[in-house]
């Protein structure tokens, strides 16, 4: 386990090829400074995103996952981001319900001209991850999954 003080959040960002990836590129070519904690994976469209990508990241110990795509109505494929928006609205709520910190999964719309917005989104995300702390899920897995203070359910049955 990494010492808390040396810890830097690891973030995986899935960027759509047409807007957000170009936006992040613009931030780079304009020499904007933003935290280096984000690893970028390019996808054809935010509509390509499968919830499994996110689950796998979180299970393998990534601290935060970001999906970024074109603004609504600007999708290269006309409607890919509409589908993504629907899918991940449900998925985000599900993850939260399953006990995963809602800060660990986020979405943003960043266009090809919004290098500054990209830098801002990453900056905020890193700050949030720092306050959320490391994703301990992967550590727990090695300890066979259960926190040490495990309590068994009581025998009382409430039947309604």
């Amino acid at each position: 386990m990494i010492e808390e003080k040396d810890w830097e959040p690891k973030i995986v960002a899935f960027l759509c090829n047409w807007c957000s990836y170009a936006g992040a590129d613009l931030a780079g070519t304009s020499r904007m400074e933003y935290p280096p904690n984000v690893r970028i994976i390019r996808v054809p469209c935010s509509g390509r995103m499968n919830p499994l990508f996110v689950i796998k990241c979180l299970m393998k110990g990534v601290d935060g996952v970001l999906i970024s795509g074109c603004h609504i109505n600007d999708c290269h494929y006309s409607e890919g981001n509409f589908y993504a928006r629907r899918r991940f609205a449900v998925f985000k709520k599900l993850l939260e319900y399953m006990g995963i910190d809602p800060r660990r999964f986020q979405m943003s719309w960043v266009s090809a001209s919004e290098g500054d917005k990209w830098a801002k989104v990453v900056g905020e995300l890193v700050d949030e991850m720092k306050s959320a702390g490391p994703n301990r899920f992967a550590d727990r897995l090695e300890n066979h999954g259960l926190p040490s203070d495990r309590q068994t359910h009581s025998d009382e049955v409430e039947v309604t």
């Binding site: 919830p51 629907r86 319900y97 006990g99 995963i100 943003s108 905020e124």
Partner: protein, 293 residues
Amino acid sequence: MVEELRVKARELLKNKQVELVIGYQRASDGVSATPCFIENEKDTDLLIWDAYCVYNLSSYLKDHPGRKIGIVAKDCDLRSVVVLLQENQLKRENLFILEMECQGVIDERRLQFSDKQNQEISFAQKCKSCQSSKLSISDYVIKDRGEKRKTPDDYDEYGPIRKMEVKATSERLKFWQEEFFRCIRCYACRQICPMCYCPKCVAEQAQPFWFSKAINLEGNFSWNVTRAMHLAGRCIDCGECERACPVGIPLRDINKKIEKDVKELFSYEAGSSTEAKSLFACFNKNDPEGFIK
């Protein structure tokens, strides 16, 4: 009801309207019901109907492609037939739907808690919020002439979900970790589900390898979250996954949570109309996006 069902089934088979009737018969224990597949009109007397007919028989429909099938269906089973039709998994003309007016089915695990005064307990949880017969897709409805069972008006079907939602994130994680810790990955939840019909399940895929097949928290958590997500906007709450689970994981609580969100976010209800597109196969320009930066 049973007589009417048998007569109708016999008539269907005799007139070659259907090649096969899928219904319920008495199991060898003399109490429970078990699915039966009748091809010969002489066997129609095997058919039964009572509160033990818990199974959702629509899971069997996909096993007989191209055949004309008569299916005995409760209201919840009808909704799954609707979703299967919506997703082009069935041809309507190959189906003859025998709808049974249902008063609720027994949950065997709850039976021991009921007594003469309170028999309500023995009914499955899903039956408490069931609003029977909103759909009109059946070919033939067999009416129940008995006294209608009353469901409590103040019953909140999302009660347990709301209770869970207000808990702290870490508490929820701990709860689900403990539940999934017991999961033996038998995939009974998948096998029994009428909506899980992929020829190759993501859980069995090795290329790409999405999550561990081993019984550890990573695999168990991933599997259960993925299963729930794949049923988003498709689960019609027949509750079969939870009933089939050998280790008692409250799977319905996950399905209901998604059902609730989908209702709130998109006013969408799975299995309510054959004309509507599936939840994730369509979108609305004004879908909520408060969570997106």
